[in-house]
């Protein structure tokens, strides 16, 4: 690659402008990190890290203040697990069908159809969960509350399904034909080839797509803010009202909490936890996808 030798002032100016555009993303990230970090550090000067990580109650606004992060983490974990449990089987099996079995014309309809699911606004999904899915679930499951983790979890799963299916399909398609042909040559049936040869070979790509979808589910705000409730409780019961980290941030930001107070800083502490989680997920997913492109 040649080094750009800016011969005229104009070329230099354009080079500088393009560089600054590219730097905007880095500067923004650094800015966000700085704000998060400074407020979180201020938060931890008043609340000990051990209380934050060990207490099982989260009631920062009330008379008896507790700052244990676990209720919010449990809420997020519960809704995200339900979402993944919905999206992975459906997404993976759709991906297998579309790449191995679907006739070309059907595939041309199915693939965009799945992409449409990703295009539905999340607030529409939220109300769909609240007014359609929850009553249906209430008819089947005893003691199912109006706000719960199961309903938004399922709807989130539907929302992230295109992510799983599309990326898994790419991973499956990237498996070399020689592997498949080798399996057929050895007398394997189609199903055996898929589940014993192709999927293991595509596994790092599939896992990467699942992790990406999971990080999307963890950061999802609108659906859970509408349908999951606003009661921070440390539970794994999907039938009761809970509160996720994202919904808590919405609750406080929309309220009357004065800036600079401890209650205000809880937003940043929770935001930092969220950031760390999604960053770790994205990093892992990135690593796995690189392995996919470099492998075999």
């Amino acid at each position: 690659m040649n080094r750009t030798t800016a011969s005229t002032g104009f070329e230099r100016a354009v080079y500088a402008a393009l560089l600054s555009c590219a730097l905007v993303s880095i500067v923004t990230t650094v800015g966000i990190l700085y704000v998060l970090a400074s407020e979180t550090v201020a938060f931890f000067t008043e609340v000990s890290l051990s209380e934050f990580l060990l207490d099982t109650q989260w009631t920062p606004l009330f008379a008896d203040k507790h700052f244990g992060i676990w209720p919010l983490v449990a809420g997020t974990a519960l809704t995200s697990s339900v979402a993944i449990a919905t999206a992975v089987p459906l997404g993976l099996l759709s991906a297998i069908y579309m790449s191995e079995f679907a006739p070309r014309r059907l595939r041309a309809v199915l693939k965009p159809g799945l992409e449409i699911l990703a295009g539905v606004p999340t607030i529409v999904y939220g109300y769909f969960a609240l007014v359609v899915v929850t009553p249906v679930l209430q008819a089947w499951i005893p003691d199912m509350a109006g706000f719960n983790a199961l309903s938004p979890g399922i709807v989130m799963g539907i929302m992230i399904l295109p992510m799983v299916s599309s990326l898994s399909e790419d991973a499956i398609a990237a498996v070399p034909a020689t592997l498949r042909e080798g399996a057929y040559a050895l007398g394997a049936t189609e199903l055996a080839t898929i589940f014993r040869v192709v999927l293991p070979a595509a596994s790092s790509g599939i896992v990467a797509s699942v992790i990406l979808a999971l990080s999307r589910a963890i950061g999802e705000t609108m659906i859970v803010a509408i349908a999951a409730g606003q009661q921070a409780r440390f539970t794994l019961d999907p039938r009761v009202p809970i509160e996720t980290m994202t919904a808590y941030i919405v609750q406080i930001s929309m309220g009357d909490t004065p800036t600079g107070t401890l209650e205000y800083r809880t937003i940043f502490a929770v935001g930092s936890v969220l950031f760390v989680l999604t960053f770790a997920m994205n990093y892992l997913s990135h690593k796995l996808r690189r392995r996919l492109t470099l492998a075999e």
Binding site: Q57, W58, T59, L61, F62, A63, D64, K65, H66, L130, T134, P135, Q138, D143, A145, G146, F147, G229, Q230, Q231, A232, R233, V240, P241, Q251, M254, G255, D256, T257
Partner: protein, 353 residues
């Protein structure tokens, strides 16, 4: 090139500043304190002929109805913000608005702020609000509750410990209780904690708290194990989805046995302790302006009719007469002694002095 760019920036900045100076009208915002940051656009004593109002989300429906009727017959305009009782007082005591709605009397810290800024206020009760305790219509075990039971359920000590219906009263199901109520920014929350637990802002924290009453209605009406409290007006709007719980305050002097809230029981003082007056506070200085004076006169003259229309309970006629006189004489100061909420008050007695 440089000068051209700079004048563009100047114009843009000027446009933004001028846009921000325009008064902001906010319609039906249920979220109590939310708009307070954005509502800061409300100007100091705006253009001639405009009355600026802010404050409680509870008082808002009445003020909105009054303003609508007022603007039909008057050339003056009314702009209403919804920053919550606390948020409204902040603006009022800094002279930014002429009138503020409050679902509780003015607090000592707010009295001090007004005094510091030289704002004198005329306190005018405009209606009664009942706080309704509600359960799901399919809840067949709750026929009535006592104040002691409510206290046991909502006290700070109940956090994490009182989690089942059977712990409140023997014979009730051994199932989880799901609680719903306004959040800490709400005047309704302030009053409920004071009336039931005995200390303002003292309650458990593990319930679904939302300043948006419609979220609470949604939560209670879809959950057979739910219990919650909110303003009576929201029950009236959603009668078919909610079941009212009569409350027994153990004091036979103001009505024996459990009493359910209704227009009657709130205004004659038998639904205790969960009845409260709601107010508007008018700046004495602003009251001198013709538009503010005529608006407040119109308010007091029509509050009874319009409050009833929007689900609130009108004060007795005598109370309105006394309030009108109070405004005409511009009597400043709070009939609650500037100490904030009092439980179980009679408005006429307080106004008469």
């Amino acid at each position: 090139m440089k000068i051209h760019a700079r004048s563009h920036t100047t114009f843009l900045a000027l446009a933004v500043v001028l846009a921000g100076c325009g008064s902001k009208h906010k319609a039906a915002a249920e979220a109590g304190g939310g708009p307070s940051a954005k509502g800061a656009g409300a100007p100091a004593e705006a253009a001639e002929g405009t009355v600026t109002v802010d404050g409680s989300s509870t008082v808002f429906p009445i003020t909105e109805a009054v303003a609508e009727e007022f603007q039909k017959t008057s050339k003056h305009r009314v702009t209403i913000g919804v920053s919550g009782t606390g948020g409204g007082f902040k603006k009022f005591c800094q002279g930014e608005v002429a009138v503020t709605g409050a679902s509780r009397p003015i607090k000592p810290s707010e009295v001090e702020l007004c005094r510091k800024n030289g704002v004198e206020y005329v306190e005018l009760p405009v209606a009664y609000d009942g706080l309704a305790v509600l359960v799901h219509p399919k809840n067949d075990w709750v026929e009535a509750m006592t104040v002691e039971e409510l206290k046991k359920l909502w006290a700070p000590e109940a956090q994490g410990t009182i989690t089942k219906w059977s712990q409140i009263r023997a014979g009730w199901p051994d199932k989880e209780i799901h609680l719903f109520g306004p959040g800490v920014d709400s005047g309704t929350y302030d009053y409920f904690t004071k009336a039931v637990v005995g200390k303002e802002h003292a309650s458990r924290g593990d319930y679904t708290s939302s300043e948006d009453d419609n979220v609470l209605v949604q939560g209670i009406s879809t959950d057979p194990l739910a219990l919650g409290f909110m303003g009576f007006a929201y029950y009236v709007e959603n009668k078919d989805k909610l079941k009212l719980v009569p409350i027994d305050d153990g004091n036979d002097a103001n009505g024996a046995g459990p009493i359910a809230p209704s227009a009657e029981t709130v205004s004659n003082g038998t639904y205790q302790p969960l009845s409260r007056p709601i107010f508007i506070y008018v700046s004495k200085k602003a009251a001198g302006r013709p538009e503010v004076g005529s608006f407040v006169d119109f308010y007091l003259a029509n509050a009874a009719k319009l409050a009833a229309e929007v689900g609130y309970i009108p004060l007795p006629d005598k109370a309105y007469t006394l309030a009108k006189k109070r405004f005409a004489d511009k009597v400043t100061g709070s009939i609650f002694g500037g100490k904030g909420s009092k439980v179980g008050v009679s408005i006429e007695a307080l106004l008469a002095g």
